[in-house]
Every structure is written in C-alpha cells, then in structure tokens.
Symmetry: C2
Subunit: 129 residues, 2 copies
DNA sequence: ACCATACATCCGGATATGCGGATATAACTA
DNA sequence: TAGTTATATCCGCATATCCGGATGTATGGT
C-alpha cells in the first residue's frame, strides 16, 4: 500500500492539497472530537436513523428509543447543537429532523468502514461497551 | 427543507434504498458508536493527521503529540483496532499509517460539517471539553 | 386564572475514558 | 548471555458521560 493514499484521495475529492484535514490548532481538534463523540453513542445513532425520514416530536422519539424523557430530550439537543439534526419549535412541540445530506454521507461511510472491520472493532478493549 | 433529504442522498450515493444507514440491531449500533468514539478524541485526531502522509513509528508519534509512551501506544492500538490505521511490525518497530482512502473522505466530511457549525458545537454543554 | 401537555434543565449516582508510572514482552547488539 | 531499545499492557486516579427522577418553563385549552 503506497504512502500517498491520503494525498490521492484528497486529490480525488477536489480538496485543496497540502492543507490539513484535521484542524492544526488544539481548539479546532477538540471541536471535531466533540462532533464525533456526539454520534459515538448507540442511542443517538438510533435517534439519527429515526430522524432521517422526516420530522419527529420529542415524544415520538421517546417512544422509539424507550428511555426517559429527560435523557431523550438531552440527546436530541446534543444532536442539534452538533449539527446532525435541525430543531423546529411548533407550538408546544419541538420537531427534529436530519436536513443535511452530508450527515447521510458521513454515516454511510462509517457503515462501510465498520462493516469491513467489525471483528477487530468489537474486540477493541480500549473503548469499552 | 423537504423530508426526503435523506432518501435523495441515499439515491445520489447509489446506496440500496430503504435499508437502514445505522444498524438496526443494538449490537451493531454499539459497534458503530465505538467506531466514532475512536476518533472522538483530540489526541487520536492529531495522530490520524500525522499518519496520513506515510508510515510512522510509535516513537515518532510520541514526539509529535508529547504524551507518555503508554498513552500513545494505546491510542495507536485503538486507531488500528477500529480500522483507521494499519499497523505493521518491522523488527523492534511498529509502523502505523492511514491506508484506507475512506478514512480521508470521512474526516473531510466532518471537517466541512464542523466548519459550518463551529459556534453551536463549541457551545454544546452536553459533551464537555 | 387554572390546569394539562410538551419539552428543557438540574441533580446525584454509576460507568467509561484519558492519563502517567510501573512492568512485561520482544527484538536487536555486544 | 546480558544489556539496550521499542513497544505493549497493567494499575490507580481524575474527569467525562450516561442515566432517571425532580423540577422549571412555555404553550394551549377550559
């Protein structure tokens, strides 16, 4: 496997060559890490899937995942803050939904990568659960 | 923003329509969550960037990130287990490197998404740091 | 005004994760 | 063989994250 794998993909994607993919400053990396941790939870992934097909209220989400109201509300706020879903106030309701197609793309890439490496991933003890 | 954002992107990406993006079984979601948490740490993101351009030994990585040998070794093993980098034994050395172009694609998508939402992301208190 | 509904936030407890130091293993070298 | 180097693993401590219950806030209905 050649060393230029990364450079080639950067080229293929039409990205500016030579510029870092991961932020060079510590603060920027902390933000990107936070972004990934937001979808690094099984419950939030389930909610994300549920919010792909259209708007859903918090109550509908609660029924879907079977956790407490406070927890589900917090998970949804987290997904919204981190840009995975959009929140819309509608009277007493808040309707959440995935609106950015790049979120779909991101998850589909992760799906493919995890599928190709499921065994080692499941066995990795440095991250629990 | 229409409700079919997700379906449209699935179509555009040539993915099988109707099949879930996120695994339907809890075990599968746990694995995908683990995958994202692996890159949900600033140090591992820094290492990932460092490993884009070619093979690096553990010692070189230690110098790059400035953390203890045990910690860096553990971070690298985590990235390898989760499929972000490849590890190759070479005598006394272990050489790590990003070899899968999809990793580059994934990070570039995250870069774009976080850039468009940096303020809210930084302000999200449900995930600390 | 009063109450019910829908949601958001606060709190303390349990588990997960990051950290460095100590130790173990494995490969070269003299 | 003995010693050095490179890396991996184990340990306890500190912090982060998930959880449900309690409480706060806003909207709509009577």
């Amino acid at each position: 496997m050649p060393a230029q794998t990364a450079a080639r993909e950067v080229e293929r994607l039409g990205l500016p060559p030579g510029s870092p993919l991961v932020p060079a400053e510590h603060a920027g990396r902390r933000v990107m890490a936070k972004f990934f941790r937001a979808i690094g939870d099984p419950t939030r992934l389930l909610l994300l899937e549920f919010l792909l097909d259209g708007e859903r209220t918090v109550s509908e989400c609660i029924e879907q995942v079977g956790l407490s109201q406070s927890r589900v509300s917090s998970h949804l706020a987290c997904l919204a803050d981190c840009g995975f879903v959009t929140a819309r106030r509608d009277g007493r309701f808040t309707r959440y939904q995935v609106t950015d197609p790049r979120v779909v793309h991101l998850i589909s890439l992760a799906r493919a990568l995890t599928a190709d490496n499921a065994a080692a991933l499941a066995a990795c003890v440095r991250i629990d659960t």
